[in-house]
């Protein structure tokens, strides 16, 4: 006898929910995803960084990058949102909204480079090291 569709959906969901945390662990290693979130059940598995930092470099059509020091409020909001997402999504966080805000604030901005700094605890030495993740738009 064939199982009713609602039972089949639940069984398939259970299988997927059993496999997802294994993929989640892979994404933590490969793309810097945080184990704390997204249903991977890795809360308290890894220390949460106590702060984050970011530097923004823009090319205003000169062919060279200069660091941006005085962002507009919109850019600052977009940067805060990006950093918050980067904290949990690692390299999977998209820089597109921040790039749009940057170009809206100054149409002369062409290429954009971001450097995100996150302190990480080295589990071998038990000392804090700095990890830098770089983003470019266009890639």
């Amino acid at each position: 006898m064939q199982r009713p569709i609602n039972q089949r959906i639940v069984l398939i969901a259970l299988m997927l929910l059993t496999l997802w945390p294994a993929l989640h662990i892979g994404l933590v290693h490969a793309r810097g995803l945080s184990p704390w979130k997204l249903s991977g059940w890795g809360m308290y598995a890894l220390p949460r960084p106590k702060f984050f930092g970011m530097e923004v470099y823009v090319d205003r059509g000169t062919g060279s990058f200069e660091q941006m020091f005085a962002p507009t409020p919109d850019v600052r909001d977009a940067a805060t949102t990006f950093l918050e997402r980067q904290k949990w999504l690692g390299e999977l966080a998209s820089i597109a909204p921040l790039a749009r805000a940057l170009r809206a604030s100054d149409p002369s901005i062409g290429a954009i480079r971001l450097e995100v700094f996150r302190p990480e605890l080295d589990n071998e030495t038990a000392m804090v090291t700095m990890r830098t993740v770089r983003y470019s738009d266009p890639p």
Binding site: P21, Y44, N123, A126
Partner: protein, 287 residues
């Protein structure tokens, strides 16, 4: 998958309805209380999305207490939680995802029918095993429990220090509390053998719970171990709603409808939490 779920055991048919009913009532209590305890401290700054979540969530929680409209209530809560997860993405805690899964299972299954009811109970039980097993695996693979580095990292938080103070020297606690997590800071280690042992025990317990829940002979003791473990975690980390949610799920492993006896105590705890947030009872730190 069905064959694996069958190994979780089965209660007499007449017991499963009362068992699932008690589970549903406690789940509704937890969800309603969590929504309100989150909203009360931010009452003056609630945005439209949170007001809608609170209003709809409260209506569906009340409906979940009436057996006739319960399935509609779970479907409504599932929709509310999808919206909440979307709105907060990726900040939502894991227990919000677990709540969504539970709502979805209970909305999809006709819990008036024995087969669906049995599957609903087993689905919840299976998720408990998944949560415990992967919590243990994740702690092991990142390596921060080998020398209690994770516990050392947490010592800048007062309630963590208070919990570990009996086992860690005052000088070492002060040293760890003073570290700011900046590059070059460390070492984040704790010399106390008791704390290092506790660090290993934490993932071993999580590993062990899932298989122990599967074996009929060890099921009850596994529930006791798991609840003891969750209670210990609550003392240190104060992740109260995750703990309450998991304990409610764990009670489904007990034979018969033993969880019926937990409905009134759960209601008392929930009222106390809301009164604590309102300032009527002393303030307690919980997440």
């Amino acid at each position: 998958m069905q064959r694996i779920l069958d190994r979780l055991g089965a209660d007499p048919e007449q017991e499963t309805a009362a068992k699932l009913d008690a589970f549903a009532k406690i789940l509704a209590l937890i969800v309603g209380t969590e929504l309100w305890t989150r909203a009360i401290p931010r009452w003056d700054t609630l945005d439209t999305q949170l007001i809608v979540t609170l209003a709809l969530g409260s209506i569906f929680v009340l409906l979940a207490w009436t057996s006739r409209l319960r399935r509609l209530a779970w479907a409504g809560l599932a929709v509310v939680y999808v919206s909440l997860l979307w709105y907060e993405f990726p900040n939502s805690g894991n227990h919000a995802y677990l709540q969504f899964y539970l709502f979805a299972f209970l909305a999809l299954l006709f819990t008036d029918e024995p087969d669906d009811r049995r599957l609903a109970i087993r689905a919840v039980q299976w998720m408990v095993c998944v949560v415990f097993a992967y919590s243990g695996i994740q702690k092991l693979v990142y390596g921060y429990y080998a020398d209690a580095q994770f516990f050392a990292w947490q010592m800048d938080r007062e309630h963590w220090r208070a919990a570990f103070a009996p086992f860690v020297g005052a000088d070492e606690l002060a040293r760890l509390a003073a570290l700011g997590g900046r590059p070059g800071d460390g070492p984040y280690t704790i010399s106390s053998p008791i704390v290092v042992a506790a660090s290993h025990v934490s993932y071993v317990v999580e590993f062990a719970v899932a298989p122990l829940l599967f074996a009929a002979r060890t099921r009850t003791i596994a529930v006791a171990i798991a609840i003891g473990f969750i209670a210990t975690v609550e003392v240190v980390a104060r992740e109260l709603f995750f703990g309450l949610l998991i304990v409610n799920c764990l009670l489904l492993f007990l034979p018969g409808a033993a969880n019926r006896r937990a409905v009134v105590p759960a209601a008392v705890v929930m009222v106390a939490l809301i009164l604590s947030r309102l300032g009527v009872l002393p303030e307690a730190l919980f997440h």
